[in-house]
């Protein structure tokens, strides 16, 4: 894609939030259950410049599709603002809203369900023209033929139904429909995820050609880093409802800053014979729930580079393990009943008899940690586990927090400004306070 783009933002997203509410039915309210917010999108800001392709990449549940739908006003936002061509999208009404609906289009992932099975292809592509009353009947039909040919279908397929087409062809139909109103901006939501790789390549090339031909601006939402790399000018990486890094595509792929971006890129298996010898560090654990995201940096529960307190002399891997242990204590996710051999410890009232505590602590410690700790840390951990043996979960958590609390859990790092910002304390003020922590490459 060309580099000669205007810098004017066509779309400006400012602190956009979209929460979904659970336990929000009438029954829940009668029972007095508080609604629980699911923070699908939790304060994202970015710009899309005219003529560029911005990629939004992340794993399932990170909020990328919700971001796309909300900025098109297919969903109402919880908070925040989206400007399109200078106007606040959520304030539009009447003919202005109609104009926006013409200018901003969407292509969805699933070509098998996004087309109405009872409408012929011609009707499907023509429908937006009918709704917006563009041109005469003849002109509309003529335009539909042009569009179909432009996306690589033949105009004599007008009267066929979606089920008669292959996945790639249906996606072409979806694209023709999105183009019908001559939009400026298209959100492409996983446009090739349901397609075979050879067909995906056809569709990606088509999207590239159309962008050049019609001066389109794209927001490409995808979980596939190779597709993002191939198509986008700039990329925003999302994790748990937030943008963690944004930058020009080549810079971000060659020199990823955020530990999550680094891990994401390392995780992709390359289709090349060197792949087996490639050094890769795999990320442990799962993405936490957006119902109850971690405090501070949301990636801290999995981050291999989570920042240890300055005075703590401990290697990074061990610190990571201790942080994972803390997490489990805080979530009370350790079953004490099963410690030791069958019936070794009597835990009837949730506590271990005093005389058994040392043996219990040892058994539990060996189950929870694989590594040897420096003596001082061994002591701290055993003291905390002894609290667990007496059923004092909060006390154990407090002791461990006292020793090991990280800046990453106290403060949510800002994304910051500039051409390639990353929301991580390794790059903000905390990095200066904590010199010596080199971001891994």
């Amino acid at each position: 894609m060309s580099t000669d783009r205007s810098e004017r933002p066509l779309v400006r997203v400012d602190d956009l939030q979209k929460y979904f509410w659970e336990q929000d039915s009438i029954l829940d309210r009668l029972l007095g259950d508080e609604p629980v917010p699911v923070r699908a999108v939790d304060g994202v800001s970015f710009e899309i410049r005219e003529g560029e392709t911005l990629g939004l990449v992340g794993e399932s549940g990170c909020g990328k599709s919700t971001t796309g739908e909300t900025l098109l006003r297919l969903q109402e936002p919880t908070d925040g603002q989206v400007e399109f061509d200078g106007d606040n999208v959520y304030d539009l009404s009447g003919s202005e809203l109609t104009d926006f609906r013409r200018e901003a289009q969407v292509v969805f992932q699933d070509p098998f369900s996004s087309l109405d099975p009872r409408m012929t292809v011609g009707e499907t592509v023509q429908q937006p023209l009918d709704v917006h009353e563009i041109g005469t009947d003849d002109e509309r039909r003529e335009r539909v033929r042009d569009l179909l040919e432009r996306v690589g279908l033949s105009a004599d397929q007008l009267d066929r139904y979606p089920h008669e087409f292959s996945g790639g062809q249906r996606q072409r139909i979806g694209i023709a429909r999105a183009l019908a109103l001559e939009p400026e901006f298209i959100v492409l939501d996983e446009p090739t995820s349901a397609l075979d790789v050879s067909v995906q390549a056809q569709v990606l090339n088509l999207l590239d050609d159309l962008q050049a031909e019609f001066d389109l601006t794209y927001l490409l939402i995808s979980h596939d880093l190779s597709v993002i790399r191939h198509v986008c000018d700039r990329v925003a990486v999302m994790y748990l409802g937030e943008i963690v890094e944004i930058g020009p595509v080549q810079e971000l792929f060659d020199d990823p800053k955020h530990p999550y971006t680094q891990a994401l890129l390392e995780s992709v298996p390359r289709a090349s014979t060197d792949e087996r010898d490639r050094d890769r560090e795999t990320l442990a654990g799962d993405v936490p729930s957006p119902r109850d995201p971690p405090s501070g940096c949301r990636f801290r529960t999995r981050c291999p580079q989570v920042i240890s307190p300055e005075e703590l002399e401990i290697d990074q891997e061990t610190y990571r393990e201790l942080m994972t242990l803390r997490e489990r204590v805080e979530r009370r996710d350790i079953s004490l009943e099963t410690v030791g051999d069958e019936d070794q410890f009597d835990l009837d009232d949730g506590t271990v008899p005093d005389e058994d505590v040392p043996a219990f602590v040892e058994a539990l410690r060996n189950r929870l940690l694989d590594t040897d700790l420096p003596a001082a840390h061994e002591e701290i951990v055993e003291r905390a586990l002894a609290e667990l043996a007496r059923g004092n979960w909060d006390e154990a958590a407090a002791q461990l927090r006292e020793e090991y609390e990280s800046v990453c859990e106290r403060q949510n790092p800002d994304l910051g400004n500039g051409g390639h910002p990353a929301a991580c304390h390794l790059y903000g003020e905390a990095a200066d306070r904590h010199e010596g922590t080199e971001p891994l490459q």
Binding site: F20, V38, A40, E59, S60, G61, K64, S65, T66, E69, L74, Q75, R101, Q109, P128, S154, R160, H163, E164, F165, S166, G168, Q169, E190, S193, D196, V197, S198, V199, Q200, A201, Q202, L204, N205, H223, L225, S226, R229, V231, F253, A263, L264, S267, V268, P269, R270, A271, S272, T273, E275, R276, T282, L283, D286, T324, R328, D333, S335, T338, E342
Partner: protein, 427 residues
Amino acid sequence: MTEDILQVRGLSTRFFTQEGQVNAVSDLDLTIERGEVFGIVGESGSGKSVTARSIMDLIEPPGEITEGEIRYRNADFAETVGDDHPGAVDGEFVNLLELPPAIRQSLRGTSFSMIFQDPESSFNPTLTVGEQLAEAVEVQRRASARPRSTRARTESEEYSLGSLMLSTVLPSKKYVSDESRERAIELLELVGIPDPVERADEYPHEYSGGMLQRAMIAQALAGEPDILVADEPTTALDVTIQAQVLDLLDDLQKETGMTILLITHNLGVIARMCDRVGVMYAGEIVERGSLTDTFDEHVHPYTEGLLGSVPDLEGANRRLQPIPGNVPTLLDHEMEDRCHFADRCPKAMEDCLDHPPEFDADERGDHEVRCVLAERDYDEGRALPPDYFDETERTAADKHADPDRTEEDVQPERTQSPVEDSGGGGL
């Protein structure tokens, strides 16, 4: 010394649908050595999943294995079944297609295990994961506690079926024995589930997708199978979780030396995991060889096209080189006796109008390719005119019966969370 553990010979699997006979897999040969990871890569409708399911004896009507042999090497087993089924046995090999269904089924779990894209289907939602793993362990224990006679194995199968039904009726059923419970926890630990003791007592729905995938692998390993068939094992997973699961499979394979047949559409996964590769197209293996043979020294234009279609993570913004057209229908009455790729092949020649056999691509003899280019160079003078196939209507190509689709093996990729799922109307 490597030895063949599985030899598939001339396998054909057909689906008899209303639209006609679908040749999902045609005359397929496949040889897998003990301890290797063999990958089959292909797009939807290539027949890769049907091949896997044929080997596992999981083909159901209207599908049917119409021809071929599936020869499994296991000397003990050959001896056991030899008396009753002498026709099935050839030395240490047993042709599984000559055995009655009950005996074939008894191999499942102990000789062959399979993992799928979707782990939910492998678990009963009303039992804890630990109980189900313990059950799998018990089945194996009972099977191996008795002499390996047909009768015993069949009986144990019935017994396990009975107890499974019982356990469905009584969801609070306890573990069969402490021993099997402990083994279940060991298995969870083996597949890298953090906190296996706690997790054993949880139900499948309390597991994340990646963890359930691990648990399914644990279940498949309970019977210490010789061969693990992994059908798109990571397709439904996010990329960081996919990396975890691939690491796991790799480690387990190295530790146990088991043989893995890996089916996937993802060339990266193949490169990450496999020693040897078969590329499938239209029900046939069109190119096979080592990873280097297929990735770097391929001869078949389809292999070339497949690799050219993958956007490169590292490379510059080169334009993708897609394969034009669509996958063929595999309907018997529409398939001509030519190279099935000829209508999409940039190098199609007159020579390609005869169905090509498998040629050796080099002298070493283990790189084979079903393409005339292995024998002669491309000759423009013999090229088919560009519109040669135009009269054959290809519009509706892959809408036709596509047996692979039923298993959704190419419906990647995004596991949708409720969050991503919500909302999103029309235009």
